[in-house]
Structures are given as C-alpha cells and as structure tokens.
Symmetry: C2
Subunit: 186 residues, 2 copies
C-alpha cells in the first residue's frame, strides 16, 4: 500500500500544479470573452477545476498522513478514515478523467503553438496518470475485498474513448446505447 | 435534522429525475453532432451528469437511512457515517451548482420552444434547490460546530453570479480577481 500511496501522492501533486497552469491560461480568456456564452463556457470549466483543486488541497495531506503510517492494520476497511481515503481517490479518478476532457476541449480552440504545446503536455501526463490511478484503484479494491462498491464502475467501460492516436485531439465515438435508462446503472 | 433530511431527500430525488430528462435531451444531440468538437462537448457534459447520477444513487438511500433514525445522537460529528453524509451533501451542493450551469450553457444553443421551456423549468427548480441546500448546509455546519471544514467555502462568495433576472440566461460577470494564486484558497 505504501508504494501506491507514493504514486498517488506524486500524481495528485502533479495534477494540482497542472490545474493551476490551466486556470492561468483560462483566466484571460474569461476576462476577454467575446460574448456571454463564451464567458460562461470557460468560467464554468474554470470553476469545476477550482472545485477539484479545493478537494486536492484536502486530499494530498490525507495521502501524506497514510504514507507515514507504519502499522499495516491501518490500511483496512475497518478503518473509517481509510475508507474515506479510498472514496476520495475514486472521486479524483473521475476528476482526472474530466480534466483530460477539459484539456481536449481547449485544444479545439487554443490552437496557437504556445498554448497547444502546453495543453498537449498536460493532456498526455494527465491521461497516463488517469490510467494508472484507475488500475491501482481496481487492484486495491480487489485486494481488500471490502464492501465498498465503486458507484462509478459502470463508467469505466465507456472511458476508453479517452485514448487517442498521436497528439490529435480526436476522440473515438464510444459505443453508446441510444437512450438512457437508470436501470443501466445498476 | 429530520426536517432537513426530508428536504434533502426531496431535492435530490427531484434532481435525479432532472438529470435523466437532461441526459435524454443530450443523447440525440451527441448522436447527431456535426463535428468531433460538438460531440465531445455534449458528451463531456453528459458524462459529468452521469457521474453525478451515480453518486445520487448512493446518496439518496443514505439520506433515507438517516431520515428513519429516531436517536438524535446519531446526528453527531462523532458518527463517521453522519460525517460522510455531510461530506456527500456538500459535494452535491456543487453538483447542483454545476448542473445549473450545464442548463444555462444548453439554453444558449437549444433555443427551440420545446427544449428551452423544459430547460428553463429545470433551471429554475435546480437554482432554488441549490440555494436551499447551500443555506441548510451552512446552518447544519454552524449548529454542530464540528471540525469539518467545507473545502469549498471560499467558492460561495463567487457563486452569486448564478442569479439572473427573469428567465434570460444572462449571467453577471463575477468580480473575479485577475490571475490565480493557490494562496487565495487558504
């Protein structure tokens, strides 16, 4: 568990830094938006990343705290704080996923070399980190065999569309069902 | 606390229903998107709402469970499950906020009468519910005076821009600082 906590720590401090870079890129775009629709659009993405940043400010010290634990018993579903850690990590797996999509959307409009170079760098790192978080959480959930059920597990089968060839922001059409039923979530 | 749990239950079952209506509206738009950018844009919003729906499928029974409790001692920060409930409710306050913005963004492009009428209905209910959730959570947090710190509290001062006059989707420019520093989060 300690090795995984090390990696989680690296990934979430990296993405915290990436959020700040992205928000700094969005800020002048919001200030200079040509109309209300454009302004709301970028401001909305800015706020979602700001919310994620606020959660990471809480999560990163929690990861640190568990990293320092020497008693393996602490890493147990009987420990409420450990369960909370797993829940938060699961939520931030989706936070990373959504961040990759925010970057992909930005790549459609920020096509100048400076911004697209930075966006592509952030995108590639974030996508690899998302895959690694997803894989580690799958293994951890199997290993502990606890009663925590990932409420988003059904999503993962859709999320392969994030993969792309080269650096083109083109995303494959996922094989989505027509029409949505809540039953599909169960 | 029981009265508040009743209201939370009503609000989150209502918004669960609203998500489904909105997803059903987005589905054909995604299927018939004119290009990859448009498809990714709506698919991204669809997925964020799908993630929220998955969390609500877990949260609503948790609210129900607490609604049935007769021992007031259960509503205490010493109870880990109650703390978890408060954390989830706080997260869904932001889920509701983001939903209002998803609806506002949709109102810019889905201008036909059928869709804009439904979007405006969902928008008005969701915005009122967001305000009520925010107010109730503020009171609950004060009342319990526990050590739970809302990691998003700093956002709220920005969030008044969701208010609007009449049914126009025009949103006021928030008085945002230029430039972003992490220090501003602390």
């Amino acid at each position: 568990m300690k090795d995984e906590l090390n990696i989680f720590y690296r990934i979430f401090t990296t993405t915290k830094d990436a959020i700040e870079k992205f928000m700094n890129m969005l800020d002048p775009v919001i200030q200079n938006a040509k109309d209300e629709h454009e302004r709301l659009y970028y401001h909305h993405i800015y706020e979602e990343e700001e919310q994620r940043l606020s959660r990471l400010v809480e999560l990163i010290p929690l990861i640190s705290k568990f990293e320092k634990e020497n008693d393996e018993k602490i890493f147990s579903p009987a420990n409420n704080e450990f369960n909370r850690l797993l829940q938060e990590l699961n939520l931030e797996k989706f936070g990373l996923h959504n961040f990759v999509e925010h970057l992909d959307l930005a790549l459609f409009t920020f096509t100048d070399e400076e911004r697209s170079t930075l966006l592509n760098q952030l995108r590639d790192v974030s996508y690899q980190d998302y895959l690694q978080v997803k894989e580690m959480l799958n293994k951890i959930n199997e290993r502990f065999d606890h009663d925590y059920v990932d409420p988003h597990a059904h999503h993962d089968k859709h999320y392969d569309h994030l993969a792309r060839l080269g650096s083109s922001p083109i995303i494959k059409q996922p094989n989505k069902k027509k029409g949505f039923t809540v039953g599909s979530l169960k």
